[in-house]
């Protein structure tokens, strides 16, 4: 764990020094692009006049206190900018995650059980198309069809323009209306991936001896599948839940940018476009840490559902 944290911060630190010519170049560029205040902030944040290792240690100290400095764009605290973006991204991703599990698990399990049936073949092909489809293209097509041609769904933002005289229920409906397309697009690829994953897990389990035993002792198919096979096949899904933690907060750069949703992904993208280094680095480090956290949760979760795994021994 500790070496990982060290490594993550080190790599992030190296990236900020990637700019051609190093920090000096950044400073020079900033004089053109940003105010003297911003340059001062940058210099203070990274201590650009000091030797590299001192800079790194200084930065690490600030980082532990979640002090990522202030944004070049509007001078606000980076951590504050990040925190205010989290709720909307989290909402969208939790809803998407719910739909992903709702559709993907039955799809995967049934195509495994009915292997080589028409259902399995159609699902398999759809799944391949699903994870070969560029998200942003799918989003564009849906925007054209439902937004432009049919006019059924809004194609950008989170709420309608005139919300002043709406009741809270209408507000809720309005919000839901705006979220349909983003959530659909966000779930699409996930459904493909997860159903493929649960299908192959299920196939793996069905091949096991204890399933053959259950069949041999005359249990009904339904009982074998749902009682014996399913539980074991779904265990690794706990891992997936853990692994989706970073995605929950990280959000999708593309979907949020495309639908003009003010979440983490969009913040990251606009910061990247504006070369707002403190914000970029802040989000990057947070993203990496969430991944770490997710991995940890996945391991713990797996150890809980699978009695064969003991924590502390791999």
């Amino acid at each position: 764990m500790v070496p990982l944290i060290f490594g993550i911060t080190l790599i992030t630190f190296i990236i900020i020094h990637l700019a051609p010519g190093g920090p000096a170049e950044i400073q020079a560029e900033m004089t053109l692009k940003a105010s003297a205040q911003a340059i001062e902030n940058l210099r203070r944040l990274y201590g650009l006049d000091k030797p590299l290792h001192i800079q790194y240690i200084d930065w690490l100290k600030r980082f532990i206190l979640l002090d990522f400095g202030t944004s070049f764009v509007d001078g606000r605290l980076v951590i504050q900018k990040i925190l205010e973006r989290i709720p909307i991204t989290l909402t969208i991703n939790l809803i998407s995650l719910f739909f992903i599990f709702l559709f993907a698990l039955p799809l995967g399990v049934f195509s495994a059980v009915k292997r080589n049936s028409l259902f399995d073949k159609v699902t398999t092909v759809s799944v391949f198309i699903g994870f070969s489809t560029p998200h942003f293209w799918l989003a564009l097509l849906l925007m054209i069809l439902f937004g432009v041609k049919l006019g059924w769904l809004p194609i950008s933002g989170l709420q309608s323009l005139d919300i002043s005289d709406m009741s809270s229920f209408e507000l809720f409906l309005d919000r839901a209306h705006h979220l349909i397309l983003p959530v659909f697009v966000a779930s699409f690829g996930g459904i493909a991936g997860l159903s493929r994953y649960s299908r192959s897990n299920m196939l793996e389990v069905i091949r096991q001896d204890y399933i053959r035993t259950a069949r041999a002792k005359g249990l009904k198919d339904r009982e074998v599948i749902f009682k014996h096979a399913l539980r074991n096949a779904l265990m690794p899904i706990v891992t997936i839940l853990g692994l989706s933690v970073p995605g929950l907060i990280g959000g999708s750069v593309i979907i949020e940018t495309l639908f003009s949703i003010p979440g983490m992904g969009q913040l990251f993208f606009s910061s990247a476009m504006a070369r707002d280094y403190p914000t970029i680095m802040g989000i990057l480090v947070i993203g990496a840490f969430l991944t770490l956290l997710g991995n940890l949760l996945a391991d713990i979760g797996y150890a809980i559902v699978d009695p064969r795994v003991k924590i502390g021994r791999r």
Partner: protein, 283 residues
């Protein structure tokens, strides 16, 4: 040779993967012949023909500068192709070196290298790529490089796993016994035996790289106009979403078809080289 023939036969039997291979072959041909096939110069601006829908003279319509979309897509296939291959080439190069050294030497070298792999895996790939591009500035070479640099970890893990078992085999012990140098054992004796699964990951990797490049170009951080790429034609599609559906539909379809084909090939290869599936027919 026997093994290769079995794999070839099994791959051939998988109709979907075969179809994928045909499409990939076509796309490569199109990319190579783009100058001959294109009905127009992809950069030729025709202000009398702005945003005209698909017609006989412009089969897939024109964009906001009156450029022929079909010609731009034909040329754009070169970008997808080269990004896919170069990025994956870089990823495999790094992955193979990391994986084989870690797997062969084991112990602290293994721990050190694999820890680095873990660290790299914790970064959300697209965020990392965007951060680097934002700092260094977008260019096609940077994109190939950065997709490769963020995509080698799977290869490394795979190669390492192969090496862990292969290095205990008799032919390796024999080579070591007669004093063959480590480098030679790693690259001449073990590596060729470890490559089969790498091809699978490589094929799937090409698909992934094409998707990432198109997304980056779409966001304006990839291939820069006027150079046509499937992704940046889609940017026009987004800008003129209200009036020009053809700018969105066709380039995306090309991406989908190409990526799908690589994925199908990869999956077919995976099934073909998996000995557990040999003998079980009718998949």
């Amino acid at each position: 040779m026997g093994l290769l023939r079995i794999i070839g036969k099994r791959f051939y039997r998988n109709k979907l993967s075969l179809a994928g291979a045909v499409v990939v072959f076509l796309v490569i041909t199109i990319a190579l012949l783009a100058p001959i096939l294109s009905p127009y110069d992809p950069a030729e601006i025709d202000l009398n023909n702005i945003l005209s829908p698909p017609s006989r003279s412009h089969l897939l319509g024109t964009d906001e500068l009156g450029r022929d979309v079909l010609s731009r897509m034909l040329w754009g296939s070169r970008i997808s192709l080269s990004v896919g291959f170069v990025a994956v080439g870089i990823a495999i190069f790094i992955g193979v070196i990391f994986g084989s050294i870690a797997g062969y030497y084991g112990r602290w070298i293994d721990t050190l290298l694999m820890r680095f792999v873990d660290i790299m895996l914790t970064f959300p790939t697209l965020f990392l790529i965007l951060a680097v591009i934002a700092i260094v500035g977008p260019s096609i070479f940077l994109i190939m490089l950065i997709i490769g640099l963020t995509g080698w970890m799977d290869v490394a893990r795979l190669v390492r796993a192969e090496f862990l078992t292969l290095k205990e085999r008799d032919f390796v012990l024999a080579a070591r016994a007669i004093g063959v140098r480590d480098i030679r054992i790693i690259f001449r004796h073990i590596l060729p035996n470890a490559l089969a699964p790498v091809f699978v990951v490589a094929t799937l990797g090409v698909a992934g790289a094409i998707l990432i490049e198109s997304a980056l170009s779409f966001l304006g951080l990839g291939v820069q106009p006027p150079t046509p790429s499937w992704g940046n034609i889609l940017t026009s599609g987004k800008n003129y979403i209200e009036v020009a559906w053809w700018l969105s539909l066709f380039p995306g379809l090309a991406i989908l078809l190409t990526v799908l084909s690589y994925n199908l090939i990869g999956e077919g290869l995976r099934d073909a080289i998996d000995p557990r599936l040999w003998g079980s027919e009718g998949e």
